[in-house]
Amino acid sequence: MTPNPERNNSLLLQPSRPVGIVGYGVYIPRYRLPATEVSKQWTGGAGGVPIKEKAVPGLDEDTATIAIEAARNALARAGLAGRDLRAIWVGSESHPYAVKPTSTIVAEAIDAVPLLQAGDWEFACKAGTEAIIAAVGLVGSGMADYAMGIGADTAQGRPGDALEYTAAAGGAALIIGPAHEALARFEGSLSYVTDTPDFWRRPGAEYPSHGMRFTGDPAYFEHVVTAGRLLMEQMNRTAADYRYVILHQPNVKFPSRAAKMLGFKPEQVETGLLSGVIGNTYSGASLVGLTAVLDEAQPGDRILVVSFGSGAGSDAISLEVTEKIEERRHLAPTTKQYIDRRVVIDYATYLRFRGKIKMK
């Protein structure tokens, strides 16, 4: 068989037209539930807790409102209007409606309607990066100049379940555009997915279930480490070529250990590791970490992002920061500002905020 010159044999995803992130925005709700409030309920405060505290949405917040504010912040940094976007894709596992897209609510609120692609993506915590890679494809093919991908969630854990310590709320939006306008150039991505039964939720079930022994090695570490390693191999890179790494962060321990397995040092991890102070924002997690890194990265810095979604898969994305970062990062509130805007609540208030108290 003669090789087809049109065929791309690389494992990397790289668009034919160079693209990058032209704007980014984050949103984190202001309420915090300390993990000790949870352990007091269920273990009398005995034993360790996986994080310090998690971000909890207020009564008037959901995935749509989180996505809207992140989207507005991304537009402000990009210097674009909603109408400039040719796509808005929202990845989440907590869309407000089972049927009725979150993406059209966001599009309407930021005045991007009516001439654009809109749709909701679902792949547990990987839905956000999947939407971003689709946006890279749309802009990278030349079909559009600007496309927005969002990862946002208001995750729920069953009362008393281990996930209750960490299931948090937050999100981030990235606008993909031509590389010459980018504050961070997209260098390539690589995805790794398998059918793995680590975590799921059936339709109509209020809370997720998880296959305990599957959540660590065969799921999170297998996918995150393999995707990250293969991406670096394909690009002839090592951990030393990157200034920052951001891994999906269901807690603090998993991403710290996976980063070490990939050869990264703690100083490359710490800026983008936020789960200790905001919890696991699911589809938002790796992207919110990325916004914290972009808030302080310098031109020329390389960034590796690896998401993880149960079920299971990882997207590894390689970025290089450009000189445009300096003039744009102050055009919207920083991730640290949202983290510092913090009001501690107790377990009873948390139950009320999360609708776990049913009233007549």
Partner: protein, 132 residues
């Protein structure tokens, strides 16, 4: 059901779409196609900045249907930087921290929910301003 009405006014509800009077330059919100300043027709669309300050406020304890789960909540008269005055809920603020003259900014939040199976209505609220 208010589905049709909520749908018609979603632009002003979601993101403060108003009007500007091309006779005297006054901003108009909510849109009413007549300038409240000079009484001439005003229908050019204008996006308001969402920045303003608390002009007066109260706390709602007995909320109307659809809003009960949020009570008590502060309700304020907001004077927008462009001039128009409007009534809106304040959010992300403790009721006892609200004061006249407090600088606020618009955010889009859930306004009300129509039971377990109905629509979720989104719209503007105001919160203490975050510096960009």
């Amino acid at each position: 059901m208010h589905i049709a009405r909520n749908w018609r006014i979603k632009k002003q509800r979601y993101s403060l779409h108003g009007e500007i009077c091309h006779h005297c330059g006054a901003h108009v919100f909510p849109p009413r196609d007549v300038c409240p300043e000079c009484a001439k027709p005003a229908y050019d669309p204008a996006q308001l900045s969402g920045l303003g300050e608390v002009y007066s406020f109260t706390t709602v304890y007995n909320a109307p249907e659809g809003f009960q789960t949020q009570a008590p909540y502060p309700l304020a008269l907001i004077k927008l930087e462009e001039g128009p005055m409007l009534t809106a809920q304040l959010t992300d603020v403790d009721p006892d921290r609200v004061e006249i003259g407090m600088e606020v900014e618009m955010v889009t939040r859930k306004l009300s929910v129509e039971g377990d199976e109905g629509l979720i209505n989104y719209g503007y609220k105001f919160r203490p301003r975050m510096a960009a």
